[in-house]
């Protein structure tokens, strides 16, 4: 029965998920009922399982071999290759390769510790390890490079996409690639990463093996080590460059998208909150402080501002009027200082208390006596007791018996 390849491919494309599972799990079916039961979960609503099984058979998507119905081997291989091609190797896979390289390097270090080993077996093993090291490095470079190419293709598809909804999904995929693939891989292969340090060790071993004096410099191991050292350096540089290129292409896109997504999340949260009238949650007074005091005091300090305002409201006023009951005399009362001023103008005063009483009056004894005491305290060098006796000083109420103090304005030195 003639079959159209075009129809076959269309069918495979349309029912890719069904066939991928069928091939991956290598299903074999004994009867149509078994096939129908298998395909049923993949059917669109309303589609007939028996019709689909018939179509599977017509197109040769399942064929009968040894009594069982099964997808033909070429289809299983094709889908497996397709999946492998279009799936990015995860950072875990790359890390696995790097770990393998690390093991090889360890063996290389052991074998090359003393230069080219003397035994034929050791030399044989060393050659094999060098070959495998190159293979592993090439695999890492190819894996990372291939993945970077696919990232580049994804970016191009995103840029070429015109449907807004598709764009949104493609952008989500790019962010996923950036976060979950490219950044971890870059961390692994960049300077300071595991890949870099392992490859440095490989270069050191190869350098030790390659720098031999003639006639050993012509030894095949020596030549192979030199080649490996060059390969390592070149592959490492190329791999890193491609990863950085992919990062440069993808990074700004993802950074912008992630940032705008964060802003949008905040916007939506704020609008949702405003929608329910809960302005307090937005905490605007604290979160969005804006100073606005165009007419206030210049100083932004409450205490200083208050003081300045008080100063501004100050008005000059006359002193309060005295009441009639207040003292009638405006004479300044005597003090020791004012008495001393007068005494300083006198050369000598034989009886200072008498002299004070002449000025302050004899109504009461305590005022002149207090003033005399203050004078003795203030100018002891000028006052002295005259004679051994006392004398009576007459006052209105009482007589005061006191010693006589004299004033000498120019006391003896």
């Amino acid at each position: 029965m003639a079959r159209s390849p075009h129809d076959f491919i269309r069918f495979v494309a349309k029912h890719y998920r069904l066939l991928a599972v069928m091939c991956r799990e290598n299903h074999r079916f004994n009867s149509d009922a078994e096939i129908e039961s298998f395909v049923r979960p993949f059917l669109e609503t309303g589609a007939s399982a028996s019709l689909l099984v018939a179509r599977l058979k017509d197109l040769g998507v399942v064929s009968q071999t040894t009594g069982d119905w099964t997808p033909p081997p070429f289809l299983a291989r094709f889908l497996a290759d397709l999946e492998h091609r279009h799936a990015l190797a995860s950072p875990g896979v790359v890390r696995g390769w790097v770990e393998k390289l690390s093991g090889l390097t360890h063996r290389l270090e052991e074998l090359s510790a003393g230069g080219i080993p003397p035994g034929a077996d050791s030399q044989l093993e060393l050659g094999a390890v060098l070959d495998e090291t190159t293979d592993t490095l090439s695999t890492i470079a190819a894996t990372v490079g291939g993945n970077c190419d696919r990232i580049g293709a994804e970016v191009s598809r995103y840029r070429a996409e015109e449907d807004a909804r598709q764009m949104r999904f493609r952008l989500a995929r790019l962010i996923d690639l950036h976060t979950n693939y490219l950044e971890p891989v870059l961390k692994l292969i960049d300077i300071g990463g595991d890949f870099y340090s392992v490859s440095e060790r490989v270069v050191a071993c190869c350098a030790r093996l390659a720098t031999q004096i003639a006639p050993l410099s012509e030894h095949p191991i020596c030549i192979a080590a030199g080649t490996v050292a060059r390969d390592v350096t070149w592959l490492r540089r190329v791999t890193l460059r491609r990863a950085h290129e992919a990062h440069r292409e993808l990074g700004p896109l993802c950074e912008a998208a992630t940032r705008e997504s964060a802003i949008a999340r905040g916007v939506n949260r704020a609008l949702e909150t405003i929608g329910v009238g809960d302005w307090t949650r937005l905490d605007l007074d604290r979160a969005l402080q804006v100073v606005s005091i165009p007419d206030g005091p210049l100083l932004n300090d409450r205490a200083a501002g208050g003081y300045l305002l008080a100063l501004r409201t100050y008005r000059e006023a006359p002193p309060p009027l005295l009441h009639a009951a207040e003292p009638t005399s405006m004479e300044v009362p005597w003090s020791a200082a004012s008495l001393r001023e007068e005494l300083d103008r006198e050369v000598a005063v034989p009886d200072v208390l008498e002299w004070i009483c002449d000025r302050v009056g004899r109504n009461a004894s305590d005022v002149p006596a207090g003033l005399l005491h203050d004078l003795v305290e203030a100018a002891p060098e000028c006052l002295a007791v005259t004679g051994p006796g006392h004398r009576q000083y007459k006052f209105s109420a009482i007589d005061l018996d006191a010693r006589v103090w004299s004033w000498n304005g120019a006391p003896d030195a």
């Binding site: 807004a164 909804r165 949104r168 999904f169 998208a257 705008e260 964060a262 704020a270 302005w279 804006v290």
Partner: protein
């Protein structure tokens, strides 16, 4: 600190900052003087009790609480939130598929603002007392803060101080304590889109 000479634009700069203005490059000589003599300005303002802040997007403002009426601030915030939401929603129609980086380059027409395009937005705007006729008032207020520059023909453009509002949105986004109920109710954004659903979308392709 010696004060050999007071900055020539001190009076104008001080007046503007005290009025709540954010001084950006669009303010010309005031900004240049501030930028040239930032330490001196900081010192002077600090002695007067003000804290001068420099934002990484290149503008200056006074930090601290002020006397701006909360209604005006709320209206301004809501106005900007709706614009940001609209820009995010329509970004895939743009050539660059992003909006933040070109935010300060583009001009916006008042007549094309999205604030009254849907019933939900109209209701929320009405709740803060903004009608279509009062939108210019909000714009003028934002202009006085230095956030937008009002242009002829009913157009305006954003100035760098708009980043104070964008920072606020990022802050809300980073707030782990935000109600899960609210965030769950929020529309899915770009990064939150479920990549697994792409397969279904892919099948829609011919």
């Amino acid at each position: 600190m010696n004060l050999p000479e007071l900055p020539p634009r001190l009076a104008g700069v001080f007046r503007a900052l005290r009025s709540g203005r954010h001084i950006s490059r669009a303010d010309g000589p005031d900004f240049l003087d501030l930028e040239r003599r930032t330490p001196l300005y900081e010192h002077l303002f600090q002695k007067l009790g003000y804290t001068l802040r420099h934002h990484s997007q290149g503008f200056y403002y006074f930090e601290g609480t002020g006397a701006i009426r909360s209604e005006r601030m709320r209206a301004a915030l809501l106005f900007l939130l709706i614009i940001f939401q609209d820009l995010e929603e329509r970004k895939f129609n743009r050539q660059d598929r992003a909006w933040e980086r070109s935010l300060l380059r583009n001009t916006y027409k008042v007549a094309e603002l999205p604030h009254f395009h849907t019933a939900q937005r109209r209701a929320i705007m009405s709740a803060v007392g903004i009608e279509e006729s009062t939108l210019p008032k909000v714009l003028r207020f934002l202009g006085s803060l230095g956030v937008v520059q009002v242009m002829p023909d009913d157009q305006f453009k954003f100035l760098s101080p708009v980043y104070r509002f964008i920072d606020l949105c990022v802050r809300y986004s980073d707030d782990d304590k935000w109600s899960t109920a609210l965030s769950a109710a929020a529309p899915t954004t770009t990064a939150e889109a479920d990549p697994s659903s792409e397969e279904d979308e892919e099948e829609l392709e011919p």
